[in-house]
Structures are given as structure tokens and as C-alpha cells.
Subunit: 319 residues, 2 copies
Amino acid sequence: MRKIGWDAEDAALQAEIMTAAELCGNNQGLVKMYNPSLMAPSPGAAKPTIERETPTSAVVNANQSPGMLAAVNAADLALQKLRSQDGPIAIVTAYNTSTSSGQLAFYCERMARQGAIGIALANSPEFVAAAPGGKPIFGTNPVAFGIPQAAGPPLTFDMATSAIALFGVLTSKAKGEPLPEGVAYGRDGGFTTDASEALEGGAIATFGGHKGAGLSLCVELLAGVLSGGAVVGQCESKKLAKSWGHTMIAIQPDLLVDGFEAKAAAVLAATKASGPSIRLPGESSARTAAERTAADALPIPKQIWESICRTAEHGLPEQ
Amino acid sequence: MRKIGWDAEDAALQAEIMTAAELCGNNQGLVKMYNPSLMAPSPGAAKPTIERETPTSAVVNANQSPGMLAAVNAADLALQKLRSQDGPIAIVTAYNTSTSSGQLAFYCERMARQGAIGIALANSPEFVAAAPGGKPIFGTNPVAFGIPQAAGPPLTFDMATSAIALFGVLTSKAKGEPLPEGVAYGRDGGFTTDASEALEGGAIATFGGHKGAGLSLCVELLAGVLSGGAVVGQCESKKLAKSWGHTMIAIQPDLLVDGFEAKAAAVLAATKASGPSIRLPGESSARTAAERTAADALPIPKQIWESICRTAEHGLPEQ
């Protein structure tokens, strides 16, 4: 990370966030270093600054620093706003970032580990169509929740509102494998399992039919428009505009209800016990992380490891 | 409504909310009067009261008044909290209600018509399983958004996190028609199209696979636990506990970004223009409402109309 232009602090933070994702098998991990130029600082990038503060809110101008840095800033600031007021809710947005924010669960878990409910939304460049036959307009527009609970680490739930994450499509393309059925549209607007076609002239689908499309639109409005990030209808290309938008909401449960964490734990236990095949969000990530920690080894695809080593030695490839 | 025990004010409000839903073809409309005893006041019910206020929050104890009344109170209070502080966000919860809140879009639109982004979540009695083979534990747990925008009335998006609304299942059962594929589980935990089996020994499914299930769980935690409403693991039966939980969040966009409503309108226009089959949330409801208004007629199923007339004349049936 330092070799591509980040200072020690920002490099460490980005490495921490990507490694945390990689540890639990999330697709927002070290794969980001496969094309390191996408992760390099924009020309003229500066550290994030705070704009428009109120006792319960702030707007973070990322000043073209990476989305991960902006998102950590926004999450930490949301917690700080929560602690320095008399009420139980705060909102912080971020915009003008140079890269995506990676795994939103990271920021929600960070808030929840300090006792706050964390909600995070992000919009992103146009890869997802609102319906069959539509041009790509939404990003994979993820939503995540971090919920403190008494019986263990916070529950984190992090989902793209698209039927498949962009990195899922890129992975299929790289491996030459077909996509699952029903997750992407081809050039003619019908479903395709060809990752290349989905990326060039086609689009990713939203999950869950019109409900997923509605949620994706709401994320575009709440994380894109509300943050001041780039959105369709306001710029020619979100990809070129480089301004991922984030909205973080932190809620302190104590001022609303007694014993939130114990009751949340009871709901999770009852949910888990409600059937033989019930898996709580985060369960398989936690298992993967535990296995990798126990093995003291992180399996990294050869091409990505080679890219990381090459970048560490030589920096960015010549243009 | 007065004949089953509500005072003039509460009767008028509940009638307004149900008729608004009926006008736009929403399944949370006058069908609620098919079984009027479910809509009658609980013994000892009182008007909602406010508990635990802060400058940015409140908790509404519905005192066993109906969910619709509690939800209107919570939405209006969220707006009031928004107006009387220096920041852009407020949260109000409600619990201890005697009935469901009906159509959440009503409350979000109410907030958005006054320039605020409205977000509403509600938990409800156990009809929905978290995965195939699971017992019903979640409610249909809806989420709704109201977004003010410059080019017309607010965008409202209101979705159950279940694959089908409870009233959809009840309607199938009443008509003797099969359910759509993939929306409900039978007694053996596999999918069924038999509405009776889904209601007795089976369960409704969540929408969108594990993502919908995760969202439903988050609504249970954010609208059920956070509000103090009845939740699994904390009571034997949510149905008997009669305490639907609501969480309303109101956000004033001006303090975060300039020109929110115009930018939101641009996103909606770009989304609509992105393909031939794109329908924005609320478009078909608005068309239905316009047609019914133009015809000056509200089509009401005969059995429901007869129930309304019978109730207006004789009150509740003898037990």
C-alpha cells in the first residue's frame, strides 16, 4: 500500500480492512490488490476533512482519499457524535472518495463493538440494472447492520442489493466459469451466465426481484444523493466521477429500551433454535475466520499474491 | 370503527389509514374489517403516552391502543423532534399496541410530505420462518421509505421482508386458490402452495433467500427489540403478547447536502429512463389511486363490505 502512494497510517488502515475481509472469506478482501492502480491515491488527494457539523451529524469530504479511509472516519465520527449528545442517534455521510469502501460489515462491527447499533449504506458505480432490459445505473449498493448482543460478538449482516457482488462477476470472468442463473443480464436484456457479456454491454441484476430493486434505489438515494456522492442523473459516469457515497447511522439503544443486548441475544438464540438449517448472518464468516486463525494461514489466490508481491517491489505498473 | 369501541378521533384516523391503503390497492386496507374483533380496543386500552424523551428521540407506549394510532403518533413525534433540534435526525419507537400498523408507506409519506426522509420498520407476530424447515418466528416485518423529491409527490417504497404478505395468504385461503410457488412452507418444511397448510403448521417464507431472511432478522431486532415490542425468545407468543413494535427515523436532508429533492428527482428520472420495463416504487399504486379517484368508486369485495355494514349496525359479533 505504501509503494502505491499511501502514507504509513492510511496504508495500515487499508491493509487492516482488506485483511479482515480476507480472513472471513468476504469478497471485499485482498482481491482489491489484483489491480493495484485502482487502489492508488488520486492526483491531489488529501486526508478527509469534516464539513457541515451539527451535534448529531457530520459530512466527511474524503478529498479523494480512499473509500475505506472515508468510511472509517465516518463510522468513528458517528460514534463520537453519539457520545457527545443527549440523544440516541447520529448520522454521518462521506463523499468524494477515490475507491470503494470495501466490506461495510467492518464499520458496523466497529460501531457495535462499542455498544452502538451501526447501520451503513454505500452507493457505487453503475453495474446493476433496475429491471430486465435496463441499462446499468445502480451500484451493488450494499447495506450492513452491526448489532451489539450479550451472548457474543456483535451480529453483523452485510449484503449487496445486487444478486451477485461485482467481485463475483470478475472472479467468474477470470476463471472462465459461468455465472449462477438469474444474477446478470446480457446485451439483449435477458438473463445470461456469461460474465464478460454482463460486464460489457449487460448488467448485474438486483436480488429478490422488485423488492431488491426498490432497496437498491433507496440506497442510491440515501447513500448517494444524501451524502453528495456521484449518482445517475447528476453525472455522465459514476465510474469516472470517483465519488462513492456512504451513510452511517449510529444508535445507542439504552436511551430507548432496557436490556437491549440481552434481548437481542435472546432473539438470536430463538432464531437459531427455530429450525435445523437456520444459519445466522456472520456465522459462516466467523467459522472461516476461526479456521484460518487456527491454521495460522490465509489462503490467497496465486495471481493476487503475485500482484501484491510485484506491487510491493515495483509499485504501480508503467501506464 | 366507533361501533367497535373507538372514540371519534381514533376511529377517523384508523378509517383514513385503511381507506388510503384501499385506494391504492394495498393489501393493508379495508380487509382489516373482515374480522372486526381483531381491530377492537383491548380491555383497558388508553391513548398512547410518551416515555423516555430526549431532544432527538422518544418512546411511545401505545397503552394497547391500535398500531395505526401508535404509528401516526410516532411519525408525527419524529417530525416534531426533527424540527425542535439543531441536527438532521430523530428516532421514535412505539410498542404495546393492540393491532398491526397497517401500511407503513402511510407514515413515511406523511413525513416526506413535510420535507423529511422517513424510514419505518415494524415487527409483527410469528408467521415467517427464517429458512426452510424452520418454525415461524418473524413477522412479515416490513420496511418502508418515504423520500421527498422535487418532481412530484414523495417516492414511497414499502415492502414486507416476507415473500408474501399475511393478507395474501389469507386471501388465497378465503378464495380457495393456490399460493404462488416458493412463498410458503408446509408442515414438512418444504415449499407448499396450500394456504391453509402454510397457516396451520407451516410458515411463510422470507423474500430473496438468505438476504431477505437477514433483513427480516434485522427488522426484528431494530423494530421489535429496540422498541420494546414483543419478540421471539422473550415471550411465549407474539400473537398473544399483542405488542407490535415500530421504529421511525426522520432525516432532514438540508443539513447534510444541498438540493436533495432536485437531485432525488434526477435519480428517479434517470432510473425510469434506464429501460423500457422500469417501474418506480409506488407507480402502480399511484395509478390505481388515480383511476379509483377518477371513477369516484372504491371496489370493495362483497364479504368485506358486508362485514363493515354488519359491524356498523350491530358492533362486534357475540363471542
